[in-house]
Symmetry: C2
Subunit: 382 residues, 2 copies
Amino acid sequence: MIYFDNAATTYPKPEVVYQAVNKCMREYCANPGRSGHKLSMEAGRVVLEARELLAELFGTKRSDNIIFGLNATDALNTAIKGLSNKGDHIITTSMEHNSVLRPLKQLESQEIETTIVRCSETGELNLAELEANIKSNTKMIITTHASNVTGTLMPIKEIGEIARRRKLLYIIDTAQTAGTYKLNVSDINVDVLTFTGHKGLMGPQGVGGFYIREGVALRQMREGGTGSSSDSLIQPEILPDKFESGTPNTPGIAGLAAGLKFIKEIGIEQIRKHEEEITSYFLKQLSEIDDIMVYGPQNMLKQAPVVALNIKTKTSAEVSFILDNQFDIATRPGLHCAPLAHQTIGTKGQGAVRFSFGYFNTVDEIDEAIRALKAIAKEECF
Amino acid sequence: MIYFDNAATTYPKPEVVYQAVNKCMREYCANPGRSGHKLSMEAGRVVLEARELLAELFGTKRSDNIIFGLNATDALNTAIKGLSNKGDHIITTSMEHNSVLRPLKQLESQEIETTIVRCSETGELNLAELEANIKSNTKMIITTHASNVTGTLMPIKEIGEIARRRKLLYIIDTAQTAGTYKLNVSDINVDVLTFTGHKGLMGPQGVGGFYIREGVALRQMREGGTGSSSDSLIQPEILPDKFESGTPNTPGIAGLAAGLKFIKEIGIEQIRKHEEEITSYFLKQLSEIDDIMVYGPQNMLKQAPVVALNIKTKTSAEVSFILDNQFDIATRPGLHCAPLAHQTIGTKGQGAVRFSFGYFNTVDEIDEAIRALKAIAKEECF
């Protein structure tokens, strides 16, 4: 199996991640931050280690401001709903995932206005258009860092500058970039940065979360046991407890810590360089095949290692099915939970076949994919 | 290490659970219900298997009505908040965990009234008192099945009958009982039954969820990508998708499926019998030691395998620390995130040392604990 579905979940993981999850499960999987016995202390230690590694990765010293939850969707719902009030206006882009668009749509029923700025056919955002949509009641801007359909990168530093200048909050969704792109919250004017553990951060599924800037007044989505201030019926305000009710996914967090250490060892620049090289190589080969339509910038300065394409008028589902069934190549067809992105790039009906690359993909695998695509384009397989 | 903190997280797990998590991580940890390639299909298959095993365990044929999330707290917040509206009145008991009490407290700020029925000193609920608190605007009753402090069982069948007769919703929190006690949603008049995977169900941390009765109008807490109706900005209404946005904890769910198969193989009656036997044995031995105060019913017909105790006026933290440090016995001191339960049993200041037993505990371990407690009571160790 050649796996090109890394934008959904990176696979495989580094060997150390498997080992860390297994060790946690077998040796110390008690409740962190609660009981206080040796197993519980060890569980607490590994959760703290993951928090500190993430803080370091995101360029902050405040590991308490790194919050763990279920996944990026969980984090985005917390951030979007916990910062919005009746009468507010929120701006986003047409390249967002449903994890941003659906919570915003839901808020409309609570008298919160939203504006979706339409991006170009390659998914690029016009900053002037973004700024022109700011109104007196605009509360925040929320954008992805990179589209999960075309890989198109958003100018997050420039958007952050606009937010700072216009006194708005800025939420960034880094599901497609954390672990591959340098993200320094001291350099970017970001209030909440959401992440997921199971993509570029190389951890297991079941862990996501966010960084929150100190002083940002965010309401929690869940109340419950935190192992702290147990005598109070009121949710504690201290971080990270305020946002971390209930038993966390300790084995998942242990695996994430191992993934973060792996990234630190290899170096984020090295990981990105490899992924950019194979993506560039793939784009170059694609450009030489007739009948293949490629979407997005097709330029590694402007996109993450994600490529969406179609072959003639074939449905994306058909192409992905043939790739899986006849060539043992895993891709993802359809709309990728981002309907407006497909509207933007003109593929709402057909969907697109998405190739998304990870650190463990190789040039040989790209060659195999190219051979397969050529065969499908020439109708040599059905 | 002797582990008596099973009410927090059961440990160890059956060997098959470790193997299932590891196999999932290494062999097929792609996104279930999304991409459609072989790895994704296999991930989807194991999630469906876990859903069907839970449906069978809870006595329903509707596996789509089994919903997965982060933990029991996540499920309880969804159920409590998603069923309540301004002006409603909700009844609960003083034996609840903060995962029930804190969301209810939070709702008070949204003009939702709550009544907390005080239980007896052993944690037992007076059904007449519960019913006497029903008012014209009462919307629902929410109770635990067993207290996480004293193990006291609530009469869930009778409460369900009251709810049915008075046309109220009933939510049951089974964090302490699912996997050990027979829970048949066809026999109990329950609208939402919340569970966690990492206690009696023998799965890993990071998975919890709920069963929802068909037709109950529950709002979701999160919107996002569901892999279904991707072209719509509106959260789909179909189950389980409505409540399962974002990538689930597939390895955790794979481990839970293995735990559920283990339970099915051993038999739930057999598991409970073993746990009741060692708890009875522990209670009997305790009754022969001077200076130990035991809380709760001290009767296995009335309690789950959880025992709270104190030694003279020693703080519970001190006793738990000595047990861990000098005897390698893991227990949990303090308030166990259930402040009103401690108020009810009279231990708000001192807390209590909680011994909670699991299927893998043995009589020999109980004997060791008894020896340790005797030594501490006689001041033979510090």
